[in-house]
Symmetry: D3
Subunit: 284 residues, 6 copies
């Protein structure tokens, strides 16, 4: 995932406006004398880094001359107490931008770190970790970026770039087969794979029979899943199989070992704890 | 905290745009035939509710005719498996709006629930739970609202509505006393209390002597804090005292029992787990 | 394709602002006395209608009370001289909104009409007409809607909702096979079909061999295409086949009869002539 | 017509957002490795160029470092197969920006080319080609620029910068004379010429008698027009005379030779075919 | 001047946001209990009213249910101590919106009142009062509306809707005659009158000779002006004549009596004192 | 008060758009040939300067290459006929930007000059001049900056960054004491001082007794005020005392000499006359 520079500036400028409002009254009174300073970003625990470019943009929004020097890249493990980036510029700009930069990096690195834990947990299996649309409102693109930094893959960006037939759709339409046919009539299969969420053998059989490209299992424990995966593979070797839902970290491997291709973890955003990162300022 | 209706519509419209993008392709193909449906919001665990008005706005952005009927209010405890709200409208609108409404309510109710746990933990002490500027970028107003729904109070909205002298400011200016004097010269004390972050006795004495209105202790364990609180109270009875930092939930009471007035918990946003809420749709 | 009402209002308000600017000086001086009037939209030639809802929104932006009554729907053929819609409201609002409403409907109906001509031209074959990303800047969603009104299907909405490997990509990566492998490594095949643009037999063979889901032929005359389609079908029965490029209307059938599934016409927007629609106002 | 640089950047950024959405998924997977490339813009037919500055801005929005080198200027005739501009920069930026840049230049050059055909058709007569408010919604400023690049002049930018009394106004007010008087009472004649649309001798006589500054004839064939122009000139030598409406290209000269000053062509935007321009990328 | 309702809502919502920011903390704590109240707008001096519709929109932005009842219209003289409008709604909404509504009405009524004083001062002469581009940044449309409410006329809305050749232009081009010729070559005289600013007889003669439509005299005392007006009228009876500049109120009549058509007063915005209007709230 | 550079650019770009609209038609026709010019800003009277940075941004929005050279700073007294800044760049950019730059500097310097007059009037007393929320809609931040340039201090930025209990609040709540208690219950005193507006002895006594931090007297003549100030000081030495209202300049000293701390002048924006500044352009 790559951001164009004008997009990221616009996004971050909104975050700066949210925190700075009509001005940083404390800092303006105390530190607007042009003194230069240096700030160090430090990891207070071992973490997977995400958000350096966004942190850089925070200071850039405030003053073009601020420079950030990075000693690690997004996606890297950073050790406890490591300084992974250094910022130089007017002291007041560093003080004013500090909190927004930290809030961004802490949030994104938290997601990246949790994602990496899932990735590590299923290492050696065939499956990959993917995200879902359960993201924090307003932050989807950034959280997707954090998932990629953590070694996961992205799934649907929104309701407009992928098909997923869920229970509620099936209930309205009357059946998986009919749903798939309608999507084909609408021409949606020219571009997109047809994906269906199933939670039992009957639904699975119907989806496979109707030509679904991807099956996402939901609401199943690993043992139940195992049987269905075997069945699906025996019926159609070409279909992609995945699991979606909350998937606790300690069960991730059990799920992955059923032979699925995709482990779609609902809670990468909602269960990640902000990563502990601090910022120390010193005058130059 | 109260939102004016045009502000909330604008905010939520951005979240809808983020998820729906150029259109919900699955639902448009399957359910745009005008069938009416009803959706129920269910708590999958006991939780403190927050975000009903925002969820309502999600559907309103998509179609003015959708109505939400609530059986609980923001700030209420909702029991596991309770249906706390019901939405009626075109089936496709419910399907398209479901995820954004859930993402909002899950995030905000998660924060409200965690806040309430802190509030309950310190019940009977003199202290109140307040939030800090460590919020998710773009969501400060909503997260503040969630903290209030949980029974907490709000602190600084941004850098522009309150003064806080932190270590970095002191280092630049040369001392707490000089910092307070400069803020007074700038006329900031006409409107705002002067607040100082301290982590030791020398700083505390300097802040009290210079006339700080509020002292926020940081980086102290409860025992250390206890001594400083006694000292501060003996020196100046009129000063407000608080603690700020991560404050683990299981230590909240120990901190509160030192006699502080304010328990500023950094992690209300960053450590809250999204509350488990689901949405079930049925045709009418 | 369905627009949510707040989106369409926002889009159309921009178009109104573009034309009305700081106010309709002629009309304000001549007709702001509150007189009611009625306006009729007339087809000056036989055409396929598209844009009624947008025209309605134009008047709604200017004054909420204006009402539009439609005698045909988007996608219908309207005969020469037919009045297909009637608007009632203050005379000045009709006069001020007329041009924007007409510009929108003329542009969109032009595209719908041209699309229908392609659809009719290939009727009875297996192929369907689809659009491409060659749209007028700023109007993609509306032009897509017009294509659907004309009986076509939509293809990629943007660079973010579908994969298409084009010559330039292949040149950079070194081969179609390698390109497909990289897309798979990036996990893009979980959601999207892998589509490849080819213009000769070697490329086609490489794409088929590497497992492409969709082949779009380009820069071929119908006879050349015919041979390649036969070859592709003999190799892989499951692959979707299409043609993309300018595809003159009088050759559309020849292309379609090669047995392709998709006729992607580049020029639906760029070659469509605005449909002749006029608006007659009379006082009530 | 001159654009200030911040305006054009803002406009083009919206077009880029429309096409790129949440990211160019194909190119990010295949070409985000920092390889430099060069792209050539080629005319596939003889055309009048318009939109170079806008194309330049497209790449600038994506990445500040991209540079465009032009071998022709807007308004120049470019021969078939000529390379009129060359872009250098990261390969992925060229691939991602290509379509928006082409869509813009093709649309604008199409209008410029058609305008030039009208200008050439009436060369040697007294008349000039001017545009009208029949433009593509959202693109008026750019299309005006294209008309100027083609050698035409601009007319009203919107309803706010010029007066035009049309049939509908006259019907409401009760007469051309009364309309002109009201506009004078409103003080609109301090700044603007008073222009009246007429389609017959009675209206013409009334407009001339009431002191109209400009007469725009409409719905007349050249022979009818001829007589009215002679009459108008004999009555008032100082009045400007024009024709407005669709004016087919092959009748343009006949209209111009009646002695009018202005040939206002309604169809410069709506009838122009996108100019065939292509873009070839090669690595450096 | 007429505002469309979506434009005015958008404009006023920005003003509300400026004042209310993240919420009216005092009122939320004291009056958010749903009590209804009534507020009266009172004139503390005799004044010409302007801005009722904008004041209404202020409350509408905060809460759709608030209603305003007006006892006077924009443009009316209101006597000292008169209540000219009454608002009913939730007490907190009235308290929160009061200041923005007052700031708007005070500013606009101040301009309307000053304009009316000019209009009255020159009553009986041939001249009318018009405004100029010397307006408060961001408020031009509203200030223009206030001038009209005061009985004045509007002049240029911006640099794009009227021509004015000023000294600086003449200096660059080399002469008034050449400037007028260039404007004609650019086709600007099809729509706009050609206006020239002159401050002496030589310039006046050149402008008249070159066919200027409007002459604006500047930097002249009434006696000097008198002579030039006589000269201009003797040379060209059809030309409009005006005066522009600060024009003190006590000299307005002397200027008007020279026989000019237009009195363009630069200081209608910049010299107007905010009109004294107050707002009294009582519970219902 | 300090503006971040992206904020000021955004704000000023809106002002430029308001004046330039679709383009400066006069200047484009006369001066778009690339000639360089120089413009001088001149004070036509003695004034306190404010707005240089904003004027600079006006030209920067139009063309990045324009440079401004200043011979004075915001807050300085500038003598009559002094040139305090010089701009160099393309002639057309100077001509197009001139009016917006002047409108901004004239408005802000007018406020700065009036503020300085108040500051000078009370020199030697204990009081300082502060502003109020009676500002021009849309310009609060800039007007605040002008007040600071004039030597005043800023007070509330909006309803969200300070508490002020006014008559209307007291009437709703039932008493000053109860109002203060409610604000404390809402936790607003953690950050903000509690300020109360009073106009008589009973209110004053209640406010002092309930622990108000700041008292703002209103609707009192200096003699009445004198007695209340003495009383307040005898009761509570620690409370800040101020006066708010229109405060005519010639009574400012009498008010200040009562011993108050704050002189909150309502009319700094509304009564300030635009400062006379002109701009002379010459070619280079």
């Amino acid at each position: 995932m790559k951001f164009n520079s004008s997009e990221i500036f616009k996004l971050v400028a909104d975050f700066v406006r949210e925190d700075v409002g009509r001005g940083d009254i404390t800092t303006e009174a105390l530190a607007s004398n042009g003194v230069s300073a240096r700030g160090k970003f430090l990891a207070e625990e071992r973490l997977v880094l995400a958000g350096l470019e966004m942190a850089d943009a925070v200071f850039g929004v405030l003053e073009a001359s601020v420079e950030i020097e990075a000693f690690a890249s997004d996606g890297d493990w950073v050790k406890k107490d490591d300084c992974f980036a250094r910022v130089s510029g007017p002291a007041d700009v560093l003080l004013t931008g500090e909190r927004v930069a930290l809030n961004l990096m802490r949030h994104l690195s938290g997601i990246a770190t949790l994602t990496r834990q899932y990735v590590d947990a299923i290492q050696g299996t065939h499956a990959v970790v993917i995200d879902t649309r359960m993201t924090t409102p307003g932050l989807r693109l950034l959280e997707r970026y954090a998932v990629m930094s953590g070694g996961g893959h992205n799934y649907r960006m929104g309701l407009d770039d992928g098909i997923l037939i869920q229970n509620n759709h099936v209930a309205l339409v009357g059946g998986i087969k009919e749903a798939i046919e309608r999507l084909r009539e609408a021409g949606l299969d020219y571009l997109h794979k047809i994906e269906v969420e199933v939670s039992g053998r009957a639904d699975l059989a119907e989806a496979l029979g109707a030509g679904a490209d991807v099956i996402l299992f939901t609401r199943l424990v690993p043992e139940q899943l195992n049987a269905l995966v075997q069945y699906a593979k025996s019926e159609r070797a070409d279909v992609l199989l995945g699991v979606t839902g909350e998937v606790p970290l300690d069960q991730a491997r059990a799920y992955a070992e059923t032979g699925i291709d995709l482990l779609a973890v609902d809670t990468l955003s909602g269960a990640a704890r902000a990563a502990p990162i601090s910022f120390k300022i010193s005058t130059m």
